[in-house]
Amino acid sequence: MTLYSKMAAFSHHDVLKTTEPLTCSDGVHNFTCLLSKTDITPVLRELKIGVAPEVSPVARRWVLVLDFNYTDGTWHWRNVTVVRGWELKWNNQTTYVFQTQIKKSLGEMVKMQKEVSWRLLVEELKGVTGVGVVLDKIIVTTENATAAQDAHQKKAADPAAAKRIKRFIKSIDPEVEVEVSHGKPEPAQSRYDRFRPVVGGIKIDWVVHRPSYGITSNCTLGFTGVVGDTPVVLTAWHCIAWTGTDRTRRRAELYQPERDSWNLIADSIQATCNYFWIFDNLVTSCDIVVMRSMVPREPRVFRPTESSTPQYGQVVRRLCPYDVWLFSELAKAGITTDVTRGTVISHCFSGIAIGQSWGNLTFNVVLLCNSFVAGMRADEGDSGSPVYRFEGSNDKLGAFGIVSGVNLLGTIVSPICYLPVSVDPTR
């Protein structure tokens, strides 16, 4: 670990009041520096566990900090007035800390970003496609744009939308600087792409922080929806190794499409299926986990048919087992075997999944009375896939359940009606 990354980690968690490490310059040489709200004393106090750098004062009145203008897409040097400066040396590494009049430290900006992201992306304003922090600025991208004069010209954020966003953020914190630029995600081409808003039938990565080590798994996102007014996403419970019971309490994180800090879409469990433990067996009513969504979502499924059109199917109703008659057809959209169809042959099929593990705990899972769909092909990675019925046309879907597993005879599907909370997958 480098000296400045250690400081950045402290600052990220608001222990230190510095910025993240920045590319700085004295006009001749480039170097790494951090801008600080405080003098060096708290920095040295926090660093003393494991790191004891040599410190010497630096006589400097200003420093240039490399900054990016998102509106016109250009880099520029920002001149920052320095109150006091220090040079820190440790393990052949040199870092500079400059006390300046910054409005917000990294930790304060991260907190701010979380609150603003949540309110902008999930609760409040339409058209916002991204929120980030750079230095002491919040960068917001919106899909609302002015018309470009030609195809090569970069579109600018619509002034009315920009004004609305700035006013909104200033109502949360009047001090923070806000930059609004145009940014519209490219349309997704495959289930492995990054989707915002998230929809059903796309690739997700799970990370569970189990005792002493973690687990990472690949699955498919099932449906999105709401529980009451809480936005949620659904997938298979076993994808998080049955985390969330009284014997398996840990934090689970859901990323889309893959594990990376900016791809986190959910990190708190809203609900799981009913369960009880009997000896080393987890007996459960279904194999679904409901996670609280942290990003925009839409009640749709990506490419619900075998062809590339329609691009999305809209979920128009929720189906319970006896809304779907025996021997009727259901389809699923998964990341490995794509869209496959099968015939419902039972609404009360019980099965056992053996050899499940969680930390040092090894157990079997007994899945009670779920639906069984013959002929529906599914493979590794398809767990969590949305299972639906076409409601009159290819772009209207009735949400039925989540792919749990297979045996040699067909696919086991957990109906979303078996959840102990009422999920509305149409909102």
């Binding site: 687990i215 798994s217 690949n218 076993h238 056992i352 053996i354 050899g355 899972v365």
Partner: protein, 227 residues
């Protein structure tokens, strides 16, 4: 009477085959193979942590064990010198699934191995969850000799491994213990993990395309040897 005797023999043979088949199938499907070398368990190690490396060539394993490699390719995470030799550490995602949790051979072979071990009939009725679990293939290459040591880091992804987790010590390369719960290899799918062991394989590497860094700092830590 004679027919009855033959029928009895036939039924006996049928039962024998039915009983013996899983054992034969298990031998066939579960065997992994590979030349296994063991370095011992975790120990207190002193050495150097080297900086990140860069490799733009291809890594080819010759006659290695059958690993179910996941996304991407081998990525060089650390390279440095130990015991007068140059070592490079490559990481790659390896995929496993339930119920075996092992990243060897194909999904079908793993399933057949599992079924053979627990008997065919109950296997038909078992629900198989369709999740892909990511483990790490940790591949330490002796650059000059063209030999590599491949082990599996269970329950950890390449995302969590970087140069700072490897110590270049007196005898070879060590992975800091505590990061990986179980590092080692197996002789058969579903078999016991041989901790502190690796598959010794021949490799084809392009040394001129490897850029190594420099030692960053000295470290003393409890670690397991991986190459």
């Amino acid at each position: 009477m004679k027919i009855k005797k033959h029928l009895k023999r036939f039924l006996f043979l049928l039962v024998f085959v039915f009983l013996a088949l899983p054992f034969l199938a298990a031998l066939w499907f579960c065997h992994i193979g590979g030349d296994i070398v063991c370095f011992g368990g975790a120990a207190e190690v002193t050495g150097s942590v080297w900086g990140p490396c860069n490799y733009t060539g291809t890594v080819e394993i010759i006659d290695g064990p059958p690993i179910d490699w996941g996304r991407g390719d081998f990525e060089c995470v650390a390279a440095g010198r130990a015991d007068g030799k140059t070592y490079a550490v490559f990481i790659r995602e390896a995929w496993a699934d339930y119920p075996t949790g092992d990243p060897f051979k194909s999904v079908a072979e793993r399933d057949l191995c599992f079924c053979a071990k627990i008997w065919i009939v109950p296997c038909i009725f078992i629900v198989k969850p369709l999740v892909l679990i990511a483990h790490s293939g940790i591949f330490v290459v002796d650059v000059e000799e063209g030999v590599g040591y491949l082990s599996i880091g269970y329950w950890i992804t390449p995302f969590e491994l970087n140069h700072s987790h490897f110590i270049f010590g007196g005898n070879g390369v060590y992975l800091v213990d505590g990061l990986v719960a179980e590092v080692g290899v197996k002789r058969e799918i579903g078999g016991p993990l041989l901790k502190g062991c690796a598959y010794r394989v021949k490799i084809r590497l392009e040394p001129e395309k490897l850029t190594i860094s420099q030692p960053l700092y000295n470290a003393t830590a409890k670690a397991v040897r991986v190459g």
